[in-house]
Amino acid sequence: MSSEPLRVVHYINQFFGGLGGEEAGGAPVSVKDGPMGPGLGLAQAFGNRATIVNTIICGDNYFNDHTAEALSTIMAAVGKARAQVVVAGPAFNAGRYGLACGAVCRAAREAGVPAITAMFEENPAVELYRLFTYIVPTTGSAAGMRQVLPKLAELAIRLAQHGKLGPAFAEGYLPTGHRYNEYDEHTAAQRVVAMMLKKLKGEPFHSEIPLRGFEVVPPAAPLSDLTGATLALVTGGGIVPEGNPDRLKQAFSVAYGAYDMTGLDGLPSGAYVGIHGGYDCGWANEDPNRVVPLDGMRRLVQEGRVGGLYHRFFSTCGIGTNIANAKRIGAGIARELLDAGVQAAIYTST
């Protein structure tokens, strides 16, 4: 290995580049010699192992409004600097800055230059770019700068030396979702039995195929007296008025419909049908209340156990819908429920 310091190019936004705040967001790409801003901390952690040849600064608005242009200027500078690794950020929880860092790293990697960035796990850019670049987790605000820079510097050096990093759990970057084959002296059967024995003994073990984690949402406070409350019915079972007036998709949903049931004692067969592409809608078509239980709700209202039922039910097809769309659809329905003064809801899924 060469004893020459590794050549690093560092990307930062207008704020960390000292150009100004939001008012300087339109600043186009500029290239400076040496480190600046957070790069000074990186340089300190690099010591004589690596050197920041150039700092590239770009306004967040400029980058996001002129992405192609900005990227082409940035990549020309990366090439000219003969960079062995590109470091972007840290962007913390800044949305536009995060997007710029992700896009710069992706472009660098596609050009054959290893790249790494750092940002808060909930930065929207994480979901968009985690497949394409290494992202070191940070705190939500720049208060965590001092903690993250040494980590980012170490990983950047190893990345420049080896072209890739080990698995996320060992290296400490955010999981990318990629899985790689590797050789192991033990067969899969031996490893799984070893894992099972550890599990039986209550010892810690690591699955080789971790399941995707789901966001934890704290439950809402309960509502025990519903006699004065308005409830709503929501389904992922794809019940719609005959003819599917909103042309909802049968799968991979991106939208939902809201349908009036004023004056109905139950959802009549024939007038409401199931369009869901993931289950046999025969039983639902025979009696749509099997999926949207309007007749049962009417009885609860009549008996005075529930104050009232919101006059529309909400429907979409749950099948094949990705989490981001499901979340968006769910949030849209929740907003309508809040606006309508609905206090509790019953969701059915097929």
Binding site: A220, C281, W283, D287, D295, A345
Partner: protein, 80 residues
């Protein structure tokens, strides 16, 4: 979708025939339904008993809405 309702402060009962999925995804108030293609029905039952089953399902959903929970919790309907 139910998580978005709960996030907005609206307690939401989730009636499903696959409670394991609902619980693992993190729905807070899960009620076991009558079947995948008919969460609030059971076509094998005579009509009157099916109506009764649906009513029990909804009663249980009301109970779930009225119960304080701190994690994904399962509510089961009794046989009719």
């Amino acid at each position: 979708m139910v998580k978005e309702a709960e996030r907005a402060g609206i307690p939401a009962a989730h009636i499903t025939a696959i409670p394991s999925v609902a619980l693992s995804v993190g729905a807070s108030r899960v009620v076991v339904g009558g079947g995948i293609p008919h969460p609030t029905g059971n076509p094998d039952l005579p009509r009157a008993r099916e109506m009764e089953f649906r009513y029990r399902c909804l009663e249980l959903a009301l109970k779930a809405i009225g119960t304080a929970v701190d994690k994904p919790t399962l509510f089961k309907v009794e046989e009719v």
